[in-house]
Structures are given as structure tokens and as C-alpha cells.
Amino acid sequence: MIKFLNPSYVFKLSGKLLNIFKTFLPPLVIVGLIFSLFLSPKDYIQGDSVRIMYVHVPSAWISLISFVAISFFCILNFLFKLKNVTLIYKSLAPIGLTFNIIAIITGSLWGQPTWGTWWAWDARLTSMLVLMFFYIAFIFSYKFITNSERSIKACAFISVLGLINVIIIKYSVEWWSTLHQPSSISLTNETTVHFSMLVPLGLMVFALFMYVAVIFLMKYRIETIRIKKKSIKKI
């Protein structure tokens, strides 16, 4: 476990994992797209527009999970001042923001044929938009605050506030009357999505998470090289 805190071990491992993920990603994406666009059935109410779910749902999950992970690492960094952890959240934040934007745009494209509007100020949509601002504020706080102590504090503060928003996103469809439907997939309750739709959804979730892993590892290497470059200049 301790070797995972060793930057040189993690850097070497990231290179190996990157090669493995890069090999498996393209076939996985192609299979996922074939299932989502051509093989999965239409929904009996929403028709073909349900196919948007195969990009919208994984994107929303990625943006939420990324923020939860960022908050966890920020708190860890705030308490224990681990340098490696800073690299992790700096690498995760742009990915989370990207998928947050994808979730909002694809949600809007799904909303027009389903609800008859591109956007509604309902609790789920608004809280997702608020998450986007939290992501932007978070990225700004580590990019533009040069004092590292202050930057760590600002990042921890924003991430904890954002975490409250993530809880609001999760329960918004239960606490308020919203246009957005309640969750169809649950770990604790019965999943209401048919198996024929769960397969393409699972494939797309897997493909997009592997894509996230590729980008994360590349960004992790970028941040590590930046630090190494600074240390070379000091020699």
C-alpha cells in the first residue's frame, strides 16, 4: 500500500496502465456504440430518444463521482499535506468538468423531444449547473492562487461546499417535484431498466470510465513532469 504513495512507482505504473487502457478502449467504444445506436430496443414511450441515455447517464455519473473523489482527496490533502494527492485532484477536475458539460448538453438534447423544452429551472438541472460552477471555481482556485497553503485551503473549502451540492443533486428528484425522472438504476432498490437496455448502458459506462482512466493517467503524468521540470530548473 505504501508504494502507492511513492511518486516514482505511481509514475511507472501509470505508463503501463496507460498502454493497456489505450489498447482496449477503441474496441470497447465501438462495441458500446453499436449496441447503443443500433442493437438496443426503442423505449415504448420515448421511442428512439431513449438512446441519449447511453451517453447522458454515464457522463452524469462520471461528473458526480469525480467531484466526490476530488472532495475526498482535497480533505485528505488539507489534513495530511500529501503532495501526490494534489496531482490526483488536479488531474481529475478538468475531466469532471468536461463530463458535467456533456451531461448538461445531452440532457438538454434529451429534454427537447421528451419534455418539449431545452431547459427548465428544475432542481436536478439547476443543481447540475451549480456543480459546473463549483468545478470552474475549483479549477480557478488551484490555477490562480499561487500560495500553495491558501490554494489547498480554497480547494478544500470549495470541494466541501460542492459535496453538499452533490447530495442535493442525488436527492433533488425525491425532495422536490421535478421534470427529471427519479433514478431508474439503484444499488439498494430494484432497477427498472430492462436488461436489453442495461447491456448497452453497462458497455458505455465501462467504455467512458476507461476513457476517463486514460485521460486521468495522461494528466497525472503531465502534472508530475511539470514538478520534475521545476526541480531541474533549480539544479
Binding site: 505508463g15 486514460v214 513532469i225 521540470k229 539544479i235
Partner: protein, 75 residues
């Protein structure tokens, strides 16, 4: 050719736009990240090679630097 695959009972424009948007954003992020990584690796190697011989040897002994130098020499 079966156009229904693209039209999807009138929902095609929404479905294809969603997938195209996601695909291009992901492709853009991938290419941008890859370009930045390659550029940084190149710059790092250049800066390391500009160091005096002894310091360059010291840098080469560091595990991360060694890894970067190997990956650059491969590409």
C-alpha cells in the same frame, strides 16, 4: 440504404447530435492532453540534455526522469 437508422422516427437529430457532441468533446480532450504530454516530455528531455554532463547523469539516475527519457526515446 435504410435511412430509418439515421432518422429514428424524427428523434435522429437529437440522438446523433448527443453522440456526436460527446464524441468530439472526448476526442478534443484526448488530443489536447496527448499534445500537452508530448510537448512537456520533449521540453523536459531538452532541458535535461542542456544541463552539464554531471548534472545530466544525476537527473538520469532519478526514476521518474529515467522513465520520461525512455518514453521520449521510444517515440
Amino acid at each position: 440504404m435504410n435511412l430509418e437508422i439515421f432518422i429514428m422516427n424524427g428523434y435522429g437529430i437529437y440522438v446523433w447530435s448527443s453522440f456526436a457532441f460527446t464524441f468530439f468533446i472526448c476526442l478534443f480532450l484526448y488530443l489536447k492532453t496527448k499534445k500537452t504530454l508530448k510537448k512537456l516530455e520533449k521540453d523536459f528531455v531538452k532541458e535535461a540534455q542542456n544541463l552539464p554532463e554531471k548534472q545530466f547523469e544525476d537527473v538520469k539516475r532519478q526514476k521518474i526522469a529515467k522513465e520520461i527519457l525512455i518514453s521520449q526515446s521510444r517515440s
